[in-house]
């Protein structure tokens, strides 16, 4: 019997503050978008890096946007770019960098995705809710689904039929899309929060969680196909498109694994502290550290690194690494121990009294 026992949780605000720098692979493989602070840059597959836009500027009259305005999420589609910033602002842009619309997210967003089936932008947030907006106007907000705890990652499957949401209560929920009220299945197996979900094949997903496990799932049967125990808590999980590779990153290393059986292929150290990783073109990844951009070409033989020349005007500033979410502490059940102790004593006293009565009579 395998049961899960959680300890007494000392309530602390989960610090899900994202890194102040992000790299995002453009949907069509044409390159990457890089966010440093509130500035958005484009790094094409060949050619120099150039600035696209400055995000996070709160429009006049809008009151709900408190917090630092660094970019915390990016999504792209044929029509343009969507960004969300830490001050809860959602913005949509043309590829030329003109802002087309903005909207205020209800709570701080944790993931931003474009739905393949209807082109809407899907947002998951710290309150545990997911909702969608139309593009490019960012209106027509629709509630999709809700978890009881923080949604730590959210993806739409490539065929657009499902939305997968991973939460802090170890659950990965697969719901139909756009009828998200209809849950297809729960993928249960992690014993701590699940903080990354990626799609590795047409019907397979991979997840990593606070239990330091990497699990491969079959979507159709909703079962575990493979699972490995990692030796540390990795910060990112990336699936390399059109390959059978998975990439894990810790603050100082990159690890390449097979997406078929999770066997370990290579681990390379990286100079600097890794903040964000993305994979756009086949066999290529771009890694953002606290003060550099590195391009790696990936093959079964290993990873080779080429630093990227950063364009003028980039200010790295105080780029932060996102802090790890809290694990549920497996502390003792102090509250009930006292209760059960009192109960045991009460029953002892009652039995003693009853026996004393019998003796006397």
């Amino acid at each position: 019997v395998s049961t899960q026992s959680t300890g007494q949780h000392y309530f602390k605000r989960i610090n899900l503050r994202h890194a102040m720098a992000l790299v995002h692979a453009i949907h069509d493989g044409s390159g990457y978008l890089i966010a440093i602070g509130r500035e958005l840059y484009k790094l094409p597959s060949s050619g120099a890096m150039e600035k696209v836009a400055s995000c996070g500027e709160v429009p006049p009259g809008v009151s709900d946007c408190e917090g630092e305005a660094f970019i915390s999420g990016i999504a792209t589609c044929k029509e343009g770019i969507v960004t969300c910033s830490n001050n809860k602002l959602l913005e949509s842009w043309t590829w030329q960098g003109t802002r087309t619309a903005n909207a205020v997210a209800v709570k701080r967003p944790t993931a931003l995705r474009i739905s393949p089936s209807d082109g809407r932008v899907v947002v998951s947030d710290k309150a545990g809710d997911a909702y969608s907006f139309s593009l490019p106007s960012l209106d027509d907000r629709r509630y999709l689904l809700g978890h009881v705890s923080v949604i730590m990652d959210c993806i739409l499957t490539r065929d657009g039929r499902y939305i997968v949401t991973a939460d802090r209560d170890e659950k990965v929920r697969v719901s139909h899309y756009p009828n998200c009220y209809n849950v297809h299945s729960y993928l249960l197996g992690h014993t701590e929060f699940v903080h990354r979900v990626v799609q590795t094949g047409n019907t397979t997903l991979a997840t990593i969680g606070g239990d330091e496990r990497l699990i491969l799932w079959d979507l159709q049967s909703s079962t575990v196909t493979a699972t490995i125990k990692l030796d540390q808590l990795f910060s990112t999980l990336t699936a390399l498109p059109s390959t059978h590779f998975l990439l894990l990153s810790s603050p100082t290393t990159l690890s390449l694994l097979s997406a078929k059986d999770l066997s370990h292929l290579h681990t390379v150290p990286v100079e600097g502290t890794i903040v964000s990783v993305a994979s756009g073109d086949v066999g290529e990844i771009v890694v953002l550290t606290k003060e550099s951009i590195l391009r790696y070409s990936v093959s079964p033989d290993g990873l080779t690194c080429t630093p990227v020349e950063v364009c003028e005007g980039v200010v790295w500033g105080d780029v932060r690494v996102s802090s790890q979410p809290e694990r549920k502490k497996p502390a003792g059940n102090k509250g009930f121990e006292a209760y059960y102790e009192r109960k045991r004593k009460r029953i002892e006293d009652e039995t003693a009294k009853a026996e004393a009565k019998v003796c006397v009579s």
Binding site: V1, D129, V148, H176, Y181, N182
Partner: protein, 236 residues
């Protein structure tokens, strides 16, 4: 030679404050998935192919589960209760009842958080009946997320219920009853349902629980609403 009478637990030893924060991580034991749950710990005669079919969400002192146990002797049923002392009371109550009459071996209680862990215990479409009796109103707007009936949670209830399965709701607070009716009827996978007289569970709803008896004592009113899990209108 003294005859040993079965000692039933006394409620006054198990009193506990009514409100418990369902959003925080209390210490709970719960299975990683329904496949790993050993129900024989709760039901002495549980076989691996058996399934629990009824669940009372927030069963309190166990009044309904005890009544349903004799009305449906062939079904396994469980009450979920988040409060330590109250679930302990129900556990002791069943221990005593089973000593007197083994028929109560089909019902039990688990201390857990129904808002978070329903899918850990039940497979998709496993339940035939779900009971939500006298849920905590959580009147304040900031506490609405603690309510056991919400747009987000309805998807979970629809998931654990079989198509055609029923949710029974009761409240003595009109506002809570209206809230539940509104949420369930607006949800695409539920519709309002009126059971016939053969539905023994519907007949047992009021007057079997602590809360229900208190309402009757105070000459209050209780409102009931029953909903049926239907097929997704949008599913191909």
């Amino acid at each position: 030679m003294m005859a040993v009478a079965v000692k039933h637990p006394k409620k006054r030893h198990y009193r506990q404050r009514a409100h418990s924060n369902p959003l925080s991580d209390h210490s709970f034991e719960y299975p990683v998935s329904p496949d790993t749950m050993d129900w024989s710990v709760i039901y002495p005669n549980f076989k691996p192919e058996d399934r629990v079919r009824f669940c009372d969400v927030g069963c309190g002192y166990g009044g309904l589960v005890v009544t349903l146990s004799t009305l449906y002797p062939d079904k396994f049923m469980v009450g979920f209760e988040i409060r330590v002392k109250v679930s302990d009371y129900v556990n002791d109550r069943f221990k005593a009842l089973r000593l007197e009459n083994p028929v109560y071996g089909n019902a039990g209680v688990i201390r857990t958080n129904a808002m978070k862990y329903l899918p850990n215990f039940f497979r998709k479409g496993q339940l035939e009946k779900l009971f939500i009796l006298y849920p905590d109103p959580h009147f304040k707007r900031c506490k609405h997320k603690w309510r056991i009936v919400s747009e987000g949670l309805l998807a979970e209830y629809a998931y654990v219920l079989a198509e055609g399965g029923l949710v029974y709701t009761v409240s003595d607070v009109k506002e809570v009853h209206d809230w539940m009716v509104k949420h369930f009827t607006e949800f695409p996978l539920f519709e309002r349902y009126t059971p016939g007289p053969e539905d023994k569970a519907a007949q047992a709803l009021i007057g079997t629980t602590e809360e229900g008896k208190k309402v009757i004592r105070n000459n209050g009113e209780s409102w009931t609403a029953i909903f049926r899990r239907v097929t997704d209108p949008q599913q191909q």
